[in-house]
Each structure stands twice: as structure tokens, then as C-alpha cells.
């Protein structure tokens, strides 16, 4: 294969590059949006900032390793089982830990999520060791590259991530607008006292919010792991999505999409045209700019601002 790297004609090359950059933005935005909606779901329902979201996402991704051996030869079944387990883990975290924080100051609840994160990181090392893992290999899935028009390419896992993000958001919008539990969740987020007086069981709603948050975060974690492998640094990827959620507004799902698109576009374009070293700081630069101009985010609610 040596020496097979050939130059393309200039016009085709530039068009291909533009399409590839657009694909890169779409993939990164999908990652941030799918992770970010977990932060939004919990915050808009219970006003708690879940700083263990990265760890919960990682746990769900590791669960895929466990289900891969249980459903050997059935990757979709393993994936679905792991996603559902993620939902159960999220709800259990609320029922076992966060429920006890009811009535406490929000800061206490946030600190509880920090402690939860440390605990989960320890458990993951004990159960799965610190080694790099490849759930795709365990599932017998090779993650082929797909050719797109204009010479752009995308991995199958990245394409699945984009489609899953679209489906997850469509599902969430429909759930919140048209289903009884979705309406209850919105009501609990808007005015928990009134919602409780109307007979809505707040603990059930909050448990569902935690479950859905871990479910969507877990989907992101599993698809990232299928694309690039799995190890402890996934936690940091979970944190990188946080600025995107803040830019969009922490209590808005539409905002999470917009924030993810803005941060991803800034990151990909600055990596390509200015300096790859900017990748780490871009999300936070965008966040600072947004906090200066509009502290509640693009689609956030102004009165939800709370000075600490």
C-alpha cells in the first residue's frame, strides 16, 4: 500500500473537504447533544446539576461489555439491553441516593453527584479493570467506514450516533408533549409544589428524569465506545458536553441541540483552519462569550438564574 497516497484535483478536493468538515461537525454536535440532553433533563425537572453524568454514561457503556457476552451474536439485543439497564441504573441512583437529598440545598445535591462520580469510577476499575476495552470486538462488529457523496466518509458507529441523536430528540419532544408522564415531568419542572398538590408523584417523575438522562447518556457512551473503544477517560468527554448544554440554556432541550451545534462547529472549524490545540478550549471560550452576552443561554429561562 506504500506510496498510494495520491493528490486529488483542487476543485474536487475543496468540495470534498467542505463536505467532510460538515460531516465532522454533525458527528461532534451529535455527541455533545446526546450527552447534553441528560444534563438538561435532570436540571429542568429537579434543578439539580448532575456532575456524575459522565460517569453514568461510562457505566452504561461498560454495561454493553457485560450484555455483549450475554447476548453473544446478537449485537442489537445486547445494545438494547444495555440501554435499558442504563435507564434502570439512572432511576436507581435517584431512588437510592438523590431522593435523600429532597429538601436539602441544591449545592448538597450537586456535591452528592460529585461523590457518586468518584464511587462509580472506582467500581468500574474494580469490575472491568483500567484496560482499554472494545465492545465492538466483543459484539463481533467491525464498524466499517461508509462513503458519502463528495468523497466524504463516516464510520458506521458515527452515522448511528447522528441518527440515534435525531431519534432520541424526536422521541423526547414527543414524550414531553404528548404523553401523560411527559406532561407531568414538565409540570414538575415548572412548579413542583403545584404539581405535587395536583397529585403528581414527584419522586416518580424525578426517578424517570434520572433514568432517561442516563439512558440518553448511555446511548452516547455506547456509540462512542463502539467507534473508538472504551476506557476511563470517557468521563471527561461527558464533561466536555457540559458547556454545549450551558450555551443552549440548561433548561432547554432545543437549546442543547443549538449549543451542541455551535460548540461543535466552532471546534471543528478552528481545529481545521486555525490550530488543533484550540480543541480543548473552544467549548469554554464559546461558553464564556455566551455567559457575558446572555448568561441564561440561548434558549434558557432568564428567571432560572441563581447566584451562588
Amino acid at each position: 500500500m506504500r506510496g498510494a497516497v495520491a493528490a486529488q484535483p483542487r476543485g474536487n478536493h475543496r468540495r470534498g473537504l467542505s463536505i467532510q468538515l460538515a460531516v465532522n461537525i454533525a458527528v461532534l454536535a451529535s455527541i455533545y447533544a446526546l450527552i447534553g440532553c441528560g444534563y438538561v433533563l435532570i436540571y429542568r425537572t429537579s434543578r439539580v446539576l448532575n456532575l456524575a453524568h459522565g460517569e453514568l454514561m461510562m457505566v452504561a457503556a461498560y454495561l454493553l461489555l457485560a450484555t455483549a457476552s450475554l447476548f453473544s451474536g446478537h449485537p442489537l439485543a445486547a445494545f438494547a439491553a444495555s440501554a435499558l439497564l442504563g435507564l434502570v441504573v439512572g432511576a436507581a441512583v435517584y431512588l437510592v441516593l438523590m431522593r435523600k437529598m429532597t429538601g436539602e440545598r441544591v449545592l448538597a445535591a450537586v456535591l452528592a453527584t460529585v461523590a457518586l462520580g468518584i464511587l462509580l469510577r472506582g467500581i468500574v476499575v474494580l469490575v472491568w479493570s483500567a484496560q482499554q476495552q472494545y465492545p465492538g470486538q466483543a459484539l463481533g462488529w467491525s464498524n466499517p467506514a461508509l462513503a458519502l457523496p463528495g468523497g466524504a466518509r463516516i464510520s458506521a458507529a458515527a452515522a448511528a450516533l447522528v441518527l440515534t441523536t435525531a431519534a432520541a430528540y424526536a422521541g423526547l419532544f414527543a414524550f414531553l408533549r404528548y404523553t401523560r408522564w411527559g406532561i407531568r415531568m414538565r409540570a414538575a419542572g415548572q412548579n413542583p409544589l403545584l404539581a405535587a398538590q395536583r397529585g403528581i408523584r414527584l419522586h416518580g417523575v424525578y426517578a424517570l428524569a434520572w433514568g432517561l438522562s442516563t439512558f440518553t447518556g448511555g446511548l452516547a457512551g455506547m456509540l462512542i465506545a463502539l467507534d473508538a473503544g472504551l476506557e476511563q477517560t470517557m468521563v471527561v468527554i461527558g464533561l466536555k458536553a457540559f458547556p454545549a448544554a450551558l450555551v443552549g440554556g440548561l433548561d432547554s432541550l432545543v437549546g442543547a441541540i443549538a449549543g451542541a451545534l455551535i460548540v461543535a462547529a466552532a471546534e471543528v472549524l478552528l481545529i481545521h483552519y486555525v490550530n488543533p490545540l484550540l480543541a480543548d478550549v473552544v467549548p469554554f471560550l464559546v461558553l464564556i462569550a455566551m455567559l457575558l452576552a446572555r448568561p441564561w443561554g440561548l434558549f434558557g429561562t432568564r428567571e432560572e438564574l441563581d447566584r451562588v
Binding site: 506504500r2 460531516v23 476499575v125 483500567a130 470486538q137 467506514a145 473508538a228 476506557e231 488543533p276 490545540l277
Partner: protein, 386 residues
């Protein structure tokens, strides 16, 4: 009566523990057993612990046991500093061992210097202070060595390339990796090759494709990466998904042997200083037996580095007459020659001025699709360390 008996038992056990400690060579290790960097360091630490158990099982060194105290610093400088203080003040260790990120070095060096105790880097990147003229207290057995690695790799690229190499680089955004890639870039020019793009990739990155897109866009036909394994391999995988067909050369970290088999990429070359298990040396059977006894959870292929560190530690203690002091261990380490039993291309030799090694040996491996196996592309090649 019962209280007196309990007190007697407690006193007897404390006395026994003290006696055991006094009868043993006490060595302290702080490393990243958990945390984001654990994948690189935990197998080294566990293999070293297994090797020490293996030595103790054979009667120890000079008739004494080695007591290895292991602390987990999670790759955090503050924890490494606290560990070093405790190991030096409380456990009175003869040698401090670091198996962690370079960010943990400064506080440990300060503590080691204050106590006059040698500091041994095992599986952690060798700092420049171990190269000649070496710092009196710092020693290193770790396989990879800044500058020597790039000198070998760039020479290999020039030798191997069939057309003029246009070299791209991938580093992780940490000082050691960036510095090495900058050095490699300058070497590339000196060797008459063309550097075309350099990607400094933050750890961790959700998607490596934007960086790979730049490397591909720069029309590189070779990419050289000297970074933690995760950055090296994910950049390669992203490049391949984009349809890039060039050659890729990366450092053979502890994961390399398994990863060559997983990737099955005929144009990925890994160079390193440790023999692969596919070479089936007699010492590999020894490693297998020791790790089996220790019931280690890591693939056997990842344990060579820790085993070599164990060999070095054993040799250093063997040259330390009883009763041991840090000064006696230091004297032994300043005049050390360790037979690596074929795990490296030659012995690890430390002198008063050179605490790295006098010669660094490299081998290159790749996956051969025709043979469906890992093959040796270039056998031991020595670089003098001056």
C-alpha cells in the same frame, strides 16, 4: 484477664510486623493504579508486584525478603506528594518508585531529594535528568526514551520509504509528547524529508476525525505518532476511516502486541525496546508462571515492562549489603548491569553519569496480512546513549 491476653497478642503482632519490616528491603511505589492514566501504568505496577512476590518465593534477595509498599496516586501530583511523604517518613523506604504521569514527578523529586533517597521511574517516562550527565538521585528503566525514539523512528521512515516521505505527526497535548514531536519534526528536515502537518490532540477527544482530516488534507504519506497509545491508535483508526492509505509508525507501548492483532493493519509499524511475546523467549514462560501465581487480571503481553522493572529492582537490592541504607542502594544503582534475558536487545546498564542506559535497542513489528501474523520488520538496532 481477657484484656491482658488481647494486649499481649497485639503487642506480639506489632513486634512481629516490626521485625518483618526490619528483616526486609523496604521499597515504596506510588503510581496510577486507578484514574484516567491507569490503563498505561496499572499493568506495570501489578507485574512488578508479581515479580517481587516471585523473588520472595525463591528466598528473596541476599536471604532477605523485599517488601514492596504500593500506593495509588491516580496520576495526581498532590496524591503523589502525600504518598512520597508517607513512604519516606513512616515506612522509611530505601527507594521510591514512580509509575505515573510526568505531572507527579516534581513533588516526588522534591521529597526524594529532601530525604536523600533514590527515585526510580518504572514504566513512567524517563525524564531528561536520567540521561547523561544524570541527576545523582534519579534512575529509569522505562522502555521509551525521548529523542532516541524519534531518532530511530525517523531513520526507519527514511530507510523504508519508497517515495519521498511527506511526514505528518500526531501528539497528545501534554508537554512530553509535544516536545518529542517537535524534535521529530526538526529531525525530519535534517534527514531531507518533508514535514507536512502536526496535530497536537487534547486528551481525551470525543472524535479524532477532525485531526485526521487535517493530516489527510495535508497529503501526508507517513504519519509518526509518539504519544500515549490511545492517541496513537485512535488517530490511525480515524485516518483509515477517512480512506487514508499511507504508512503509520507509532511507539510500541504495552498494548501494542494485542492491538496489532486487533487492527490487522499491514501498514502500521510499531517500534519499541521490549520483545513481543510472539518471540517466545524462555523468560516469557517465567513471566507467564509468575503472573499466573499472582492471578493478574491483565493480558500477559502487557506485563513485560513491569517484569523488567522488577529485574532492575532485584539487581539494585542484590548489590546492597545488609543492613541496607538509601546510600548503599544508591551506590549499587550507580554501578548496575542487568541482564534482561532477551526482553531487551541488551543489558540495562547504569553508571554514575548515566541513569538511563548506555545503549538503547529498538525493534520494529507490524501485522503481515499475508501471513496473518505479527512479523518482525527490523531486528535489534542499537543507539548509543551519550
Amino acid at each position: 484477664m481477657r484484656r491482658t491476653a488481647l494486649t499481649t497478642v497485639l503487642a506480639a503482632s506489632l513486634a512481629a510486623t516490626g521485625a518483618l519490616a526490619q528483616d526486609a528491603y523496604v521499597v515504596g511505589l506510588t503510581g496510577a493504579l486507578t484514574g484516567p492514566a491507569a490503563a498505561t501504568y496499572a499493568p506495570v505496577i501489578e507485574a512488578m508486584r508479581a515479580y517481587v512476590d516471585h523473588v520472595n518465593g525463591k528466598g528473596g534477595v541476599n536471604g532477605r525478603q523485599i517488601r514492596l509498599i504500593v500506593a495509588d496516586n491516580q496520576g495526581e501530583p498532590s496524591k503523589a506528594a502525600a504518598d512520597a511523604k508517607k513512604l519516606l517518613a513512616q515506612d522509611k523506604v530505601l527507594v521510591l518508585i514512580n509509575s505515573s504521569l510526568s505531572s507527579t514527578y516534581a513533588p516526588m523529586i522534591a521529597e526524594a531529594k529532601r530525604a536523600g533517597v533514590p527515585l526510580f521511574y518504572a514504566g513512567a517516562v524517563c525524564p531528561k535528568e536520567t540521561y547523561p550527565p544524570a541527576d545523582p538521585l534519579q534512575f529509569c528503566s522505562t522502555a521509551f526514551g525521548a529523542q532516541y525514539d524519534s531518532r530511530f523512528a525517523m531513520g526507519f521512515v527514511k530507510e523504508r520509504a519508497r517515495e519521498a516521505p511527506r511526514v505528518g505527526y500526531a501528539a497528545m497535548a501534554i508537554p512530553i509528547s509535544r516536545g518529542e514531536i517537535d524534535y521529530a519534526e526538526s529531525l525530519t528536515k535534517q534527514l531531507g524529508m518533508t514535514p507536512v502537518d502536526k496535530e497536537i490532540i487534547p486528551p481525551p477527544t470525543p472524535d479524532y476525525t477532525p485531526f485526521a482530516t487535517r493530516l489527510k488534507d495535508a497529503n501526508a504519506n507517513w504519519v509518526y505518532s509518539w504519544a500515549p497509545w490511545v492517541t496513537q491508535v485512535r488517530t490511525l483508526e480515524a485516518l483509515r476511516r477517512l480512506g487514508w492509505k499511507g504508512d503509520y509508525i507509532a511507539y510500541a507501548h504495552i498494548q501494542a502486541e494485542d492491538e496489532l492483532e486487533r487492527l490487522k493493519d499491514g501498514d502500521l509499524y510499531v517500534f519499541g525496546t521490549n520483545a513481543f511475546f510472539q518471540d517466545t523467549l524462555p523468560v516469557h514462560a517465567e513471566i507467564r508462571a509468575a503472573t499466573h501465581r499472582a492471578k493478574l487480571n491483565y493480558p500477559i503481553t502487557q506485563l513485560t515492562e513491569g517484569f523488567i522493572a522488577g529485574l532492575v529492582l532485584e539487581a539494585a537490592l542484590k548489590g546492597t549489603p545488609w543492613p541496607p541504607t538509601p546510600q548503599k542502594v544508591l551506590a549499587s544503582m550507580n554501578n548496575l548491569k542487568v541482564d534482561t534475558k532477551g526482553l531487551r536487545g541488551g543489558p540495562i546498564e547504569w553508571t554514575k553519569d548515566n541513569h538511563f542506559r548506555t545503549r538503547q535497542y529498538y525493534r520494529v513489528y507490524r501485522w503481515d496480512p499475508a501471513k496473518n501474523a505479527i512479523v518482525r520488520v527490523k531486528d535489534w538496532t542499537a543507539l548509543d546513549v551519550k
